[in-house]
């Protein structure tokens, strides 16, 4: 067995900062968030589940290209439905502003229901509502045909969906305890599921996590997809450069100064 070798050279320094994005100091900060995200996922796995049955899977995603891909998928989904358009476009911005995105999915809600006849899915005294809309043999659900004209291939076992809610809740409780910012999102969950994250799940929730001066998931302005920090910075780059070139002087020879009040000598 490999023996743990302890590093006793215990000294060093780590400069951590939020600015500039993707600088070494920012990446160190993001790594702290990653540790928090991992603890959040641990909490999710200890959440109360009906019958104590394991039914959770998780993906932790980070990195500039990885988050950009999720954001673009959210934007793609946003344009498929009017009721999603505006909120989901806002939420795509939030993905880009996040440090880590956690996906939590339930692996049983579409295939191996609780089978307790609770009626939460269809309001009946048995599980017929679920099974009658699935391809089954002897109560075994055939999920091999994964095509669907709907975003989520329902119906789902709502008791299992409830278990997913407990998992998300526990992850968020830990985020609150650790004082990192996090919120649950349907848009990111659907995007993640379509991208193949939580591959065995029937329903997925996205939980972005960040540790920044401003919580990325609250207090947004109207048209947030058009007016946000990335866009403000890019517009600054667009405007300021041009503002520079419409004036001209050789700073080594002369720099304009404020005009002196009348009567004062040079």
């Amino acid at each position: 067995m490999k023996k743990y070798v302890e590093d006793l050279n215990f000294c060093g320094e780590e400069y951590v900062g939020e600015w500039t994005p993707w600088s070494p100091q920012d990446i160190r900060r993001k790594k702290c968030v990653l540790e928090a995200a991992r603890l959040m996922v641990d909490s999710a796995f200890t959440a109360p589940f009906a019958g104590g049955v394991p039914s959770l899977e998780a993906h932790i995603v980070y990195g500039q290209e990885e988050l950009e891909a999720i954001a673009r998928k959210v934007e793609e989904i946003a344009h498929t439905q009017e009721s999603w358009k505006e909120p989901f476009l806002y939420e795509a911005v939030m993905v880009r502003d996040s440090d880590v995105v956690i996906f939590l999915g339930n692996t049983r809600c579409h295939e191996t229901p609780l089978d307790a006849g609770c009626g939460m899915c269809g309001g009946t005294l048995d599980c017929g509502y679920f099974y009658e809309q699935k391809t089954t043999k002897h109560g075994l659900v055939d999920i091999t045909d994964r095509s669907s004209d709907k975003m989520i291939n329902g119906p789902l076992c709502s008791a299992r969906v409830g278990d997913l809610g407990y998992a998300v809740g526990s992850a968020l409780w830990t985020a609150a305890t650790l004082m990192v910012d996090a919120r649950p999102f349907a848009s990111m969950g659907m995007a993640g599921q379509k991208m193949g994250y939580c591959p065995n799940s029937g329903m997925v929730v996205g939980v972005p996590v960040a540790a920044k001066a401003k919580n990325p998931y609250v207090d947004v302005n109207v048209d947030y997809h058009l007016i946000n920090m990335d866009k403000v910075l890019d517009n600054t780059r667009k405007i300021y450069q041009t503002a520079r070139i419409i004036r001209g002087f050789d700073y080594r020879k002369w720099i304009p100064k404020p005009q002196k009040p009348a009567g004062e000598d040079d």
Binding site: A47, P48, A50, Q81, S83, W84, G117, C118, G119, M120, C121, G122, G123, T124, L125, Y129, F130, Q133, S148, D149, K150, M151, I152, N153, G154, P155, L156, S158, A159, V161, G162, D163, L164, G165, Y166, A167, V168, G169, S170, L172, W173, R183, P184, F185, A186, M190, M203, V205
Partner: protein
């Protein structure tokens, strides 16, 4: 000046803790931001209707029996648990997301179906699954909050069934009950209250019924023997599957006779409470 001795004040304080937990329930994050959540704190004599309704269900459902006897034993000993009823308005969708998670292509179709079948299940239903998530997160925050106060607790569908049947939280579609305390370790896990209520033989019978693969002998013959005793081969025993009129009769009696009788006994008084509010 003063001092507090014994457990009496702890039981009183459970109610204060429950109030803090209700704050966490309402603070819980939501995905939709549009799911209505309500909570109610119940203790002492007001638990009696809930315990009574759980009684007959406990006779046919083992997990309900465990919850029922734990709560009842504590109550009978003067160590009343406090129950937080947590309800969610989840049987209709005001999202217009048309995501398909409920089984319908549009929220409009789901709402039309829900109008007809609402409340038909033991725990309510039908449900918008995004709202189920919101409600479940609120329930989870209740549990997490209780653990932060180091109060033994368990979220219970069995209590949820009783709350539903009796008409607690009338505006809510789905309900669960979070049982809190009494103040000691392992009330709802390991279940000291249940000691000696299950024999070794009963445990073994249960395991054979519920986890038969553990006890299946060579299946190559197509009709395997089951290891139901130490010398399981002499004589061998086999398992059968079939409709049981006896079991169904008991279920019918519980669901359609005994529970409704108890509901009739208590429902008016409980409904009156909400009218006053």
């Amino acid at each position: 000046m003063g001092h507090l001795i014994g457990k009496e004040y702890c039981l009183d304080h459970l109610i204060e803790v429950a109030k803090s937990i209700v704050l966490a329930i309402h603070k819980a994050p939501q995905i939709t931001g549009k799911t209505k959540i309500e909570a109610e704190i119940i203790w002492g004599g007001d638990l009696e209707p809930i315990i009574e309704v759980m009684g007959p269900v406990a006779s046919v459902m083992r997990y309900v029996k465990w919850d029922y006897e734990t709560i009842k034993n504590c109550y009978d000993k003067g160590e009343s648990p406090v129950i937080i009823a947590i309800g969610g308005k989840i049987s209709s969708s005001n999202l217009n997301w048309n995501c398909g998670a409920c089984g319908f292509s549009t929220c409009k179709e789901f709402n039309a179906y829900s109008k007809e079948y609402k409340g038909g299940g033991q725990l309510g239903g039908p449900s918008c699954n995004w709202k189920v998530l919101d409600w479940a997160m609120a329930c989870d925050w209740a549990c997490a909050s209780a653990w932060q106060y180091r109060v033994d607790n368990r979220i219970m569908g069995s209590v949820g069934f009783a709350l539903n049947a009796l008409g607690f939280l009338p505006g809510m579609d789905a309900k669960l009950g979070l049982a809190l305390g009494p103040p000691r370790d392992m009330v709802y896990y390991n279940r000291e209250e249940m000691h000696k209520s299950m024999s070794y033989e009963m445990d073994k019978r249960d395991m054979v019924s519920c986890v038969p693969t553990m006890f299946t002998a060579f299946p190559g013959g197509g009709t395997p023997m089951y290891k139901t005793k130490d010398d399981w081969w002499a004589p061998p025993e086999f398992m059968g599957v079939g409709y049981s009129p006896e079991v169904m009769e008991v279920y019918q009696q519980v669901l359609f006779e005994q529970v409704p009788e108890l509901v009739v006994k208590h429902a008016d008084k409980i409904a009156e409470r909400y009218k006053k509010k």
